[in-house]
Subunit: 374 residues, 2 copies
């Protein structure tokens, strides 16, 4: 056990008095090796604490057993779950993940793809940054022979394998729920219109209104950018409007936080003063108040199935020329923030406690329902 550097296959061979080829055969198990020799080799490996050099191996076999994962921000709990899913699948198949946070900036994405190409990752899982039509950096990766699977968001210009969530169904389900609770004046805070995700969520909102024959009011559609500040700003606009909506559908988690900020500042109560529902479940939503009704996305599954798809491509278990698209169904988590307003209430939970807004939560949680799209 030499100190200060890793042992090489040659050292193992010498110590075991065999050729390097034999050591390699023992390691790979591909070719048959006599019992005596195998034992000597294994002993030498243990003695030297030998760990085969994956770098040298990669150079020779032209496979690195590593995948790139470019996502927008791991700090977002949604992507943390995606990463776990992707990692679990990757490790189970002997791959390792190189993760990079693009912060949704195209320049960073471009740079990272170049880095991953240099590192010769076998494939790339990509949460595309909202781009302005220029996808040459993505096309170049493909031309180099490295497959890409998109997660969460599909690309606009290039057809690619993609695992995403059914945004239309999710938001339709959610807005439909608001309508069932008796709401007619339902506002939406959308994301940036350049993102497909955002467009689809708006689409689901419109579909739900249409099916209930509620007329769309343009004043109730506020265009945000998926960031907290815009949820706050547009929330204020909605809350201070002449005729305030009775419910708001916020199309992602961060903007929902901004919206709640606005509510707090104006000392308004949810759901008493206004109902709130969100796309993207927030962490700890079960525990803290207001408990927000939300469309919960199968984030772990997005990561896992994305990685599986990519690995299947690498191992040519899929050969379809046309891109594979997997669309997962979200779940609607119904919670306190959209419960029927007390003044309309038909006295559910009328046990003294029930008039206390904050108190209502715990009891409700037990009966929280989950509705799945399709």
């Amino acid at each position: 056990m030499k100190k200060g550097s890793e042992a090489t296959i040659k050292e193992v061979a010498q110590r075991a008095n065999v050729s390097v080829g034999t050591v390699s055969n023992v390691l790979s198990g591909s070719s048959s090796v006599g019992a005596a020799m195998r034992a000597r080799v294994l002993a030498a490996i243990a003695d030297l604490d030998y760990h085969p050099d994956q770098v040298a191996r990669s150079l020779k076999v032209k496979k690195t057993r590593s995948l790139g994962l470019v996502l927008s921000d791991i700090t977002n709990p949604f992507f943390a779950q995606v990463l776990r899913g992707a990692e679990d699948c990757a490790l189970a198949n002997g791959y390792v993940l190189i993760t990079l946070n693009s912060d949704d900036k195209v320049e960073r994405e471009r740079e990272f793809l170049a880095v991953l190409r240099s590192f010769r990752v076998d494939g790339i899982l990509l949460v595309v940054a909202p781009n302005s039509g220029d996808s040459t950096h993505i096309a170049n990766v493909l031309r180099s022979g490295t497959p890409i699977v998109c997660l969460d968001r599909a690309t606009e210009n290039i057809p690619l394998d993609c695992v995403s969530v059914n945004n239309i169904d999710g938001s339709q389900l959610c807005v439909r729920h608001l309508i069932q609770q008796g709401h007619r004046r339902i506002a939406i805070i959308t994301g940036s219109p350049t993102l497909q995700t955002s467009k689809e969520r708006l689409q689901g909102y419109l579909a739900a209104l249409k099916e209930a024959q509620i007329e769309v009011e343009s004043g109730l559609i506020k265009e945000g950018d998926f960031r907290e500040a815009s949820g706050y700003r547009l929330g204020k606009e909605l809350l201070l409007a002449h005729r305030r909506p009775t419910a708001v559908f916020v199309s992602n988690g961060l903007m929902t936080i901004g919206f709640i900020h606005a509510l707090n500042e104006l000392s308004l109560q949810c759901p008493d003063d206004i109902a709130v529902a969100s796309f993207d479940d927030l962490p700890l939503s079960e525990v803290f108040r207001p408990q927000i009704t939300a469309v919960n996305q199968p984030a772990y599954q997005v990561g896992f199935e994305g990685a599986q798809l990519l690995i299947n491509r690498l191992q040519r278990k899929i050969s379809s020329r046309t891109p594979v698209t997997i669309c997962l169904n979200p779940e609607l988590k119904i919670r306190e923030s959209t419960s029927i307003r007390l003044d309309l209430d038909y006295g559910h939970k009328s046990t003294g406690r029930s008039t206390d807004g904050a108190r209502r939560g715990p009891g409700r949680r037990a009966v929280a329902r989950t509705i799945s799209a399709i």
Copy 2:
């Protein structure tokens, strides 16, 4: 621009009519190259969309420009921040991160360290799993010449570079605050006693009691394991006890969530029925209720400085034989959950809106204070 595989340096050399050495020189900029040749080489590189093979490079120079990051769970917002810090520092220095989630299991840690050795990462950032005294796998990595920097938690047996948070000061600060609010019967829910982090937080608690000359009651010290379930279970025990404490200090975020669950189930109010403070800030703590007073850790900085320390070791900017230990100071975020109880200020729970616990928040938030250790 050939399709299906990456160009090699040899192809670039041929196209530019120069030797491979010259191409290498242009790329590295180490040796001077004539202007005409340089131009031809650069043109060829662009034409072929050439991306140097980092694998081949790594084999030759025996440096991979990659770092391993083994942490317990990226889903924990604390570690997501740590990752961002580490990644930012790594990228700024031309390194890439291979991230692995150990879920605090030693077997996984052992396996991952072996994987990282095979991948020949230049160094490893490690959040050690609580181990039962056997650190041979860690020692072996060091013997192989790969430096390790511990994040968040120090190792028990092996002296290692480490970047962590001042747990003692943090929890002392927090418990001191509870005492200042008038509490004398203050309980603590600790983590597993095998973790140094956990021990230190208990230590800070004890120090704060001692300095206020409050006698320690063993019944108020509950031993948990840093998981949500234990916070819930021990919370129930405390809340249902004959003489309930007036305040609880929970020594990490997950257990705090469990504790709040218990509170909810028993329909108890915070801070009216009991004050709560937590080590580890929870995400969205500013926005949702109850707003928990918490010790906020500089997570991003832990990651960044850890990576910086590791890279300095790699570049021999630090040569100190003895391990370097960096201890960062946490901040106390004072929020609603420890505000002075209402029965001491104005009549609560009588009628109408003003008695509603959830209502009190917004006004209070404005006066939230931040206290920094030392």
